[in-house]
């Protein structure tokens, strides 16, 4: 399987000679993978997201970053941009259009898509996030979760190959959060080649991922399957991160002498218990 992202020796500091926000970070993400990048506030994860999305282009000379086999240079950056969909944290600050319809159209306009085709695309992507009845609503009449769904629809309309969620659920209530995660799950089901990089400080979100990367102080400290990564409890605690609840519970049960393998998902734990 080909690689969606190959990042090598990524270092970055906002001020010249200032502290390094990212320090020699290297990792790979395969096409179709769902990777969670977790880290405490200030760990550099949002900076990494901005670098991957091409919003920051001044990288260290040793660094190498390829997205879908293309280097970020003048020649390819437009093509890379067209493959990446970004959803940010604050629902209000990424709502560009005056209505839902106009907001979804914004990305299409930027890609210079024929306006006569737009209505069909807008309707389809709004329907896929369940917002087709709100097309003419202004953002101030929508809830945070609804606005985030519109942001997803705007991204979906552009048919990205890589979806980067930068704390996309952290300002939402539990219901909004669940809805967004369910939508991402649905999107991956419909398009198995969609690569998802979810950047979050909420470890519960990492449960659904194929792989977890842990960033702390600008360095990549852990990488691997969720069960594996979360077994390093002390290292995580040192970096102000917890294990997901179900994982903690399975470990606690083991300590009490119950024979279960550490697991992240509720279903997995149930199966272990019924075994």
């Amino acid at each position: 399987m080909s690689l969606a992202i190959k990042a090598e020796h990524i270092s970055f500091s906002y001020a010249k000679d200032g502290p390094r926000t990212l320090d020699d970070v290297s990792f790979e993400i395969k096409e179709g993978e769902y990777v969670a990048l977790i880290g405490h506030n200030g760990s550099g994860k949002s900076t990494l997201a901005r670098i991957l999305a091409g919003l920051i282009s001044e990288l260290d000379p040793n660094a190498s970053l390829t997205v879908f086999g293309m280097e970020y240079d003048k020649e390819h950056s437009a093509e890379i941009h067209s493959k990446i969909g970004l959803v940010f944290q604050n629902p209000d600050n990424q709502f560009v259009g005056a209505t839902v319809r106009d907001d979804i159209a914004f990305g299409l306009e930027n890609r210079a898509i024929d306006p006569s085709l737009m209505d069909a695309i807008i309707l389809e992507s709004a329907a896929s996030v369940g917002m087709e009845e709100y097309l003419d609503q202004a953002p101030e009449n929508l809830s945070g979760g609804q606005k985030q769904r519109v942001a997803l629809a705007g991204v979906l309309a552009l048919r990205p190959s890589l979806l980067i969620l930068d704390e996309a659920t952290s300002m939402l209530d539990p219901k909004g959060k669940r809805e967004i995660l369910a939508l991402v799950r649905k999107m991956r089901k419909e398009n198995p080649s969609l690569t998802v990089l979810s950047i979050t400080h909420d470890v519960e979100e990492a449960v659904e991922s194929d792989r977890v990367l842990v960033l702390a102080g600008g360095k990549l400290i852990l990488e691997g399957k969720g069960e594996e990564v979360f077994s390093h409890r002390e290292l995580l605690e040192e970096n102000h991160l917890e294990s997901p609840f179900v994982h903690e519970l399975s470990l606690a049960l083991r300590e009490e002498g119950v024979d279960v393998e550490p697991t992240l998902s509720e279903e997995g734990l149930l199966e272990e218990l019924c075994r």
Binding site: R50, I84, D102, N110, A112, I113
Partner: protein, 287 residues
């Protein structure tokens, strides 16, 4: 924040709503010029103001705007009226000197002063009402598209009109969001003991600073994130973009332009020729 809902778009399907924003902008300019034309005498001026008022009221009924919205926006004009009356009363006059309304002490107040102040007030009222009708019947996005169309000639001078119209539409888009911020910050500061309503001017000014500083900071943060989001979605002000919303000029627009143009022409002719309908048509000499 209800008082700030002024100038908001009122969704409705009226003939005025269906007009092209370019038509509406053009008609607005013509009508505002019409309102500010000077005529032969006071009676003609107020007659024409009356005609304009009837027109404005007709538009108002058509767009289904609430009259209370208009009245609210005109409330602040009271101050203006008093101010204008004062100015005109103090200013020495050379005309209509035999036409004294009353004396304050020995100082004569002329009818002409009062009528001049009223004239300006009526003009301002009409202008505000006309602008309100435009913003109530046109979506902000369409309005900016209309502006952009009128600005398009200066594109040849190297000005990026599309970028300017994007700035304008983003400003309009973020007004409600920033109003929510204002409310939130005011509540937060009130809960910390800042009083925005009472106190001496200096105290209230300081209270205002406690609102403005966080507001500017949060707006700058918003704009930073917005820029990232827009760039992430492929926005490049220099690149070629397509437009989802297309402006279309219909027959109705032509009729509207012709009607308003004819009215404008008639008023300009009356003004230039110092035409007095009371003398010519009604055969009466009123001053």
């Amino acid at each position: 924040m209800a008082s700030l809902s002024l100038g908001r778009y009122v969704p409705y399907r009226s003939p005025v709503h269906f007009l092209d924003p370019r038509t509406k902008l053009f008609c607005l300019v013509l009508l505002i010029v019409t309102v500010f034309l000077g005529y032969a005498n006071y009676s003609t001026t107020f007659l024409m103001a009356g005609v304009s008022l009837v027109l404005v009221l007709a538009f108002f009924l058509m767009t289904r705007m609430r009259f209370t919205a208009l009245l609210k926006s005109l409330k602040s004009l009271w101050f203006m009226l008093i101010f204008l009356l004062l100015i005109y009363a103090i200013m020495p006059r050379s005309d209509n000197l035999d036409w004294v309304a009353f004396f304050i002490g020995n100082y004569p107040i002329y009818w002409a002063s009062i009528l001049d102040a009223l004239k300006i007030l009526v003009r301002l009222m009409l202008m505000i009402a006309l602008s309100l009708i435009l913003t109530a019947s046109t979506k902000p996005l369409d309005l900016t598209a209309g502006f952009e169309w009128y600005l398009s000639p200066i594109r040849w001078l190297g000005v990026n009109t599309a970028a300017w119209s994007m700035v304008l539409s983003l400003a309009l888009r973020f007004i409600p969001t920033i109003l929510v911020d204002v409310e939130r910050i005011m509540k937060a500061q009130s809960s910390r003991g800042v009083d925005f309503q009472r106190g001496k001017l200096s105290v209230r000014a300081r209270a205002l600073v406690s609102l403005i500083v966080p507001l500017v900071v949060s707006s700058l943060m918003r704009s930073d994130e917005l820029a990232d989001a827009m760039e992430g979605r492929g926005y490049d002000p220099r690149a070629k973009r397509t437009r989802y919303r297309k402006l279309a000029f219909h027959w109705g627009d032509l009729i509207a332009v012709l009607l308003v143009g004819a009215f404008f022409g008639m008023c300009v002719a009356m003004s230039v020729l110092s035409f007095d309908p009371f003398l010519e048509w009604f055969q009466v000499a009123v001053r």
